[in-house]
């Protein structure tokens, strides 16, 4: 039984009833309803409780500006907090509950807060809860519980969200008469157009009334216009698409809701996304975002049943739902007179129109007079009755000053009150685009001033409220936008509508009443959503919070989920009033994106879960997977950390792998190592700049270790570079720095060394690298190649040879990161797996053992080799690392050289790389452990360094560590302490080299 449903009219489909539940009670609405219109049709008056005082609240608006009807919607993976009933399209089975009240909005225990509201003026929390200090967290617990509105969903999101880029000549924001006119004109001119409108149905305000265009029903014009637009291949219509944000260079984000109106989807997921975020680059933008009606500020203006007049029209005309049986209109302008006419036409008793103006004029006023509705000019609503639903109002005449009353109140019975305080253009997007606002004193609102980007505002958002003007401006905007993009098609003529003169508006920041604002029991709300009253604004001013930003922040004006769409301007007007200033002097706070809230899931899109980050894999990845490798990530690369055998944990597996390399031969996937091909006659000149050592003497076929510094003298990367030919080098970088080192050199070449003849090519992915290491590596390689002389003389350490390995063309580097005889066999990536398999097969008789990155770390630490991100952390110089030998004394300059002689660089107490051997050999220090010279009983204990690498060395049968220690080299031999969480460990400082100090194994 939809008590307040009109028997006919509106855009709803009465043949399609939909069942839904609100606060546990079943109701019925129709297809085409919003939850709000269905609730209204069912005469549900209290839909929620207010944020701070828990006052009962009803539906106020019909659109995005609704401050009260926020609901908890759906359940499980489809649950949503703070959904706005005016934006929820009704679907069968919809289940919603009011937020911020318990147990129900009709009986809410939180309302007790309202009883103490006198103690809770704006900013009360700044003045109290300070004593006793310990109790703040308790106070805060209750403050937090009281705050917030809906509940965050607990279940994982069942939906997926899509994002995409889009490009167009003209983006039109808003599908009302102005927006449609603009899109039509631009589309006819041949423009690529995107028209986005937040509503399910295009037409804007035309849907809420019955105005005529081109001498026929306005909605017929809408239908024809949409038909024409849909027939244009380059026009894209995005209903349910809210233009959320306007960024620099005409870049805008549009959030399109795809399935919300259908309810939970059985096949929710990437194949049926819930919403789509459009990232639009538009050559021109037409803003046709309409206007929001202002409320009037009077005593208890928040009672359920008090609604915006335009919203009343929307509910009557678009949804066939009436707010009640008897309604009064309260206005300061002409527009609400149309509401009165619509109300009367819908069979609502309209006992009076209360008008703040002494002498209302204009067409609509005349019509109302003719209709016989009483007009109470120069009157104000001074009190309202009915906390949980309006029962009546008192009205009184206003005195000539406009500040007080001139007669006794008179009571009028009614169950709703349609209020209009004029209209605010929706300048949100314009303001986001950095456009400057002007204040229009006639309309008493801010309107777009100078545009900053390629943008044009048209229609109500431009302060043009009449239909004729909207159509004309929209058309003109579409024409000029198309022209600006160089299009020459014929845009056609603008549609026309009757121009209906309107009377002026009477601006009253607060309506005079029985008591001054803040004195009586009544509250005068400027921001219903955040429970901010005119008295709060006055208090802020009294306390010196006079700037608009101070007042906003002190009172929380406009900071609720509606972001002040209703309350903002109303509050600024109250502020101007309190300050005795003009609106332009007060100004506005900044309009921040988004226009309406957008799910984080939609902003994240598909870059979550398995697609969060690209997992880069090597050509041998599949082999590692089937071998049961445990993976670790290095940047985006996935690499085997170790290959556990049956029953092995990481520790055991890594020890086995290490010993296999030291005792026989191991095999490792080295493909991720950065590889940069360097060609050209000036290659050496470049290498001499980017590395600390000299490169002129390197022979073809030989390799050299290099250290790369930033201009600040800090080590950025190290690696081995080989000379492949006369003017041809191959640089190896660490895995993580492959791209960085490439760009570093390119930057210098392109910016500074313009005359250098050098080409760089990243060849990291071209080559698969199979590294075999261990005393049997040569024997193994000998099984696989016939055309490379592997003898130590012919192919010494730090050299490179070409040939075939397992019949595959290969480049073999004899280089080592393990301290063992080691070959890195490079083949075209496509042959990587084949090579790996061939080496594994041939290696069987040598007991070949795959080893992962953890074993590599153990082995390199035994040799004191450096790891990026551990020893090399951006704060160490080559001298700190003991790399003096790699710094050329002969070169006049290299990148970073000058920095090395600065005073702080040559201090003897800089942290230097040392080795660390625990007194108890079984203790493996945690990496990151801090080192203490002089132990104290309790903190603070000064530290002298920290552990950068720490492992158990199976070959040495004890733990080893590398560390950076202040003045460390001079302290070698000293004992230091490492106070760990559970005990303090003593260790001796040593040289950072634990195994094969003479390097015999390398050169074996």
């Amino acid at each position: 039984m939809q008590r307040n449903r009109l028997s006919e009219g509106g855009r709803i489909d009465r043949s399609r009833p939909l069942k839904f539940t609100f606060n546990g009670r079943p109701y019925e609405g129709f297809a085409g309803d919003t939850l709000a219109s269905a609730l209204l049709a069912n005469d549900v008056r209290v839909v929620g409780r207010s944020f701070k005082y828990h006052r009962p609240r009803g539906i106020v608006a019909a659109g995005v500006e609704e401050p009260n009807a926020l609901v908890q919607l759906g359940e499980g993976g489809f649950e949503e907090a703070n959904a706005r009933a005016t934006q929820i399209e009704l679907y069968d089975g919809l289940d919603a509950d009011s937020v911020n009240c318990w147990p129900s909005p009709d009986l809410d225990f939180g309302a007790i807060v309202g009883r103490f509201s006198r103690l809770l003026p704006a900013g009360f929390y700044y003045k109290t809860f300070m004593w006793p200090p310990k109790l703040w967290m308790t106070y805060e617990h209750f403050i937090r519980r009281a705050a917030g509105l809906g509940k965050a969903p607990k279940a994982p999101d069942a939906d997926a969200y899509d994002k995409r880029w889009a490009h167009c000549d003209v983006l039109v924001a808003g599908g009302g008469p102005a927006g449609l006119s603009a899109a039509l004109a631009a589309g006819r001119a041949g423009a690529r157009v995107i028209l986005a409108d937040e509503q399910a149905e295009l037409g804007g305000a035309l849907l809420n009334g019955h105005e005529e265009i081109d001498d026929r029903p306005g909605l017929d014009w809408v239908a024809d216009t949409l038909d024409e637009l849909r027939a244009m291949p380059e026009v894209r219509l995005l209903p349910r698409g809210t233009v959320a944000s306007y960024y620099d260079h005409n870049f805008l984000a549009v959030y399109e809701r795809l399935t919300d109106h259908l309810g939970p989807q059985a096949d929710a997921g990437p194949g049926n996304p819930r919403g789509r975020l459009w990232k639009v680059r538009a050559k021109q933008v037409v803003l046709a975002t309409g206007a929001h009606e202002r409320p009037l500020v009077f005593a208890d203006n928040d009672r359920p049943g008090i609604m915006l007049a335009g919203a009343v029209c929307a509910y009557l005309n678009r949804y066939g739902a009436r707010p009640g049986q008897a309604g009064v209109v309260f206005t300061n302008n002409d527009s609400a007179y149309r509401t009165a006419l619509d109300m009367a036409a819908a069979g609502i008793a309209v006992p009076a129109i209360v008008d703040l103006r002494p002498d209302p004029g204009g067409d609509a006023v005349q019509e109302v007079r003719e209709r016989g509705i009483e007009i109470l000019a120069n009157h104000a609503v001074v009190s309202v009755a009915g906390a949980k639903g309006l029962r009546g109002i008192e009205v009184a005449p206003i005195d000539p000053s406009g500040k007080g009353l001139a007669g006794d109140p008179r009571r009028i019975a009614c169950d709703h009150l349609a209020v209009s305080g004029g209209w605010n253009p929706a300048v949100h997007l314009f303001s986001q685009s950095r456009g400057k606002l002007d204040f229009d004193t006639d309309l008493n609102c801010f309107v777009p001033g100078q545009s900053f980007q390629a943008e044009c505002s048209a229609g109500a958002c431009n302060g043009t409220f009449g239909l004729a003007g909207c159509l004309a401006e929209g058309h003109a905007a579409g024409v000029s936008a198309a022209e600006a993009t160089g299009l020459t098609g014929k845009p056609g003529k603008a549609a026309s509508a009757a121009d209906r003169p309107e009377g002026s508006i009477r601006h009253m920041p607060t309506v005079p009443g029985k008591h001054p604002v803040g004195r009586g029991k009544a509250k005068h709300f400027v921001d219903v959503q955040n429970d901010v009253t005119a008295a709060d604004i006055a208090l802020a001013v009294r306390e010196g919070y006079r700037s608009v930003e101070h007042a906003k922040r002190y009172t929380t004006l406009g900071m609720g989920p509606d972001q002040g769409k209703i309350g903002g301007m109303t509050g600024f007007a109250a502020l101007a009033d309190s300050l005795g200033a003009t609106m332009p002097e007060v100004g506005t706070t900044t309009f921040r994106p988004p226009y309406t809230p957008v799910p984080f899931g939609a902003i994240a899109g598909r870059d979550v879960g398995a697609l969060a980050d690209p997992a880069r894999t090597t050509p041998m990845h599949g082999w590692h997977v089937s071998a049961g490798a445990v993976f670790d990530s290095a940047g985006q690369w996935l690499l085997p950390d170790h290959y556990p055998r049956e029953g092995e944990d990481r520790r055991v597996a890594v020890r086995r792998e290490c010993l296999a390399v030291r005792g026989g031969v191991g095999i490792r996937d080295g493909s991720t190592l950065g590889k940069i091909d360097i060609q050209g006659p000036d290659a050496v000149r470049m290498l001499d700049w980017v590395y600390t050592n000299a490169w002129g003497s390197l022979g073809v076929g030989r390799c050299r270790y290099g250290v790369m510094l930033g201009e600040d003298g800090m080590v950025m990367d190290d690696g081995v570079t080989a000379r492949l030919g006369e003017d041809h080098y191959l640089m190896h970088t660490t895995t993580g720095n492959a791209a960085g080192a490439f760009w570093w050199m390119e930057e210098w070449l392109q910016n500074e060394w313009l005359d250098y003849k050098v080409w760089l090519t990243s060849v990291t992915e071209k080559w698969a690298v199979v590294n075999i290491a261990g005393p049997r590596a040569r024997d193994l390689l000998a099984e696989l190649t016939r055309d490379i002389d592997l003898s130590n003389d012919a192919f010494p350490h730090m050299s490179v040879r070409s040939g075939r390995v397992a019949e595959i063309p290969a480049r073999v580097f004899r280089v080592s990161f393990t301290g063992e005889l080691s070959y890195e066999i490079n083949v075209a990536a496509g042959f990587g797996l084949a090579l790996w398999n061939a080496v594994m097969l041939a290696g069987q008789r040598f007991g070949i053992t795959p080893f992962g990155t953890e074993a590599v770390h153990v082995l390199r630490a035994e040799k004191g080799y450096l790891a990026a991100g551990q020893e090399i952390d951006g704060t160490v110089t080559p001298l700190d690392l003991g790399l003096d030998w790699a710094i050329s004394k002969k070169k006049a300059d290299f990148l970073g050289k000058r920095s090395l002689t600065r005073s702080a660089m040559v201090r003897e107490d800089r942290k230097q790389l040392v080795g660390l051997l625990t007194k108890e050999p079984g203790i493996v220090l945690p990496e990151g452990a801090q080192i203490v010279g002089e132990l104290r009983a309790a903190p603070p204990i000064p530290t002298i360094g920290h552990v950068t690498s720490s492992y158990y060395s199976p070959i040495l049968g004890r733990s080893i560590a590398l560390a950076l220690v202040e003045g460390g080299r001079a302290r070698i031999g000293e004992t230091v302490s490492l106070p760990l969480r559970d005990r303090t460990v003593e260790a001796e400082l040593t040289k950072p080299l634990f195994y094969d100090p003479e390097g015999e194994r390398l050169h074996a």
Partner: protein, 101 residues
């Protein structure tokens, strides 16, 4: 998000680029002959203007070329784009407009 006219590839979205910071910073010719302060000026000090800024960008996900951009650090309007090695264009200092704080 900026739309940047790569001098080689044409207008592209900001996400394809990387900003390399202030441009026209000359590396000292003979670093060994200058003071620590002068060297620090080159390495660390920056003009950091509010308004017109001459900087270098690189089309990282496109042609991988560096080029010069004169950009307003308040409005983000791009005033000029030119190739490396070309002289700074003569541009008026902007009025600080369009900062919608």
């Amino acid at each position: 998000m900026l739309l940047i006219e790569c001098p080689f590839c044409g207008p592209r979205a900001e996400v394809e680029f990387r900003c390399s910071g202030e441009g026209h910073i000359a590396r000292p010719e003979t670093p060994e002959n200058i003071s620590d302060e002068a060297w620090a000026d080159y390495v660390y000090m920056r003009t950091n203007p509010k308004g017109l800024h001459f900087e270098r960008w690189m089309h990282q996900h496109g042609c991988r070329r560096w080029f010069c951009v004169a950009r307003d650090t308040v409005t983000h309007k791009i005033r000029a784009i030119y190739k490396l090695g070309e002289a700074k264009p003569a541009l008026d200092e902007p009025k600080t407009e369009g900062e919608g704080a």
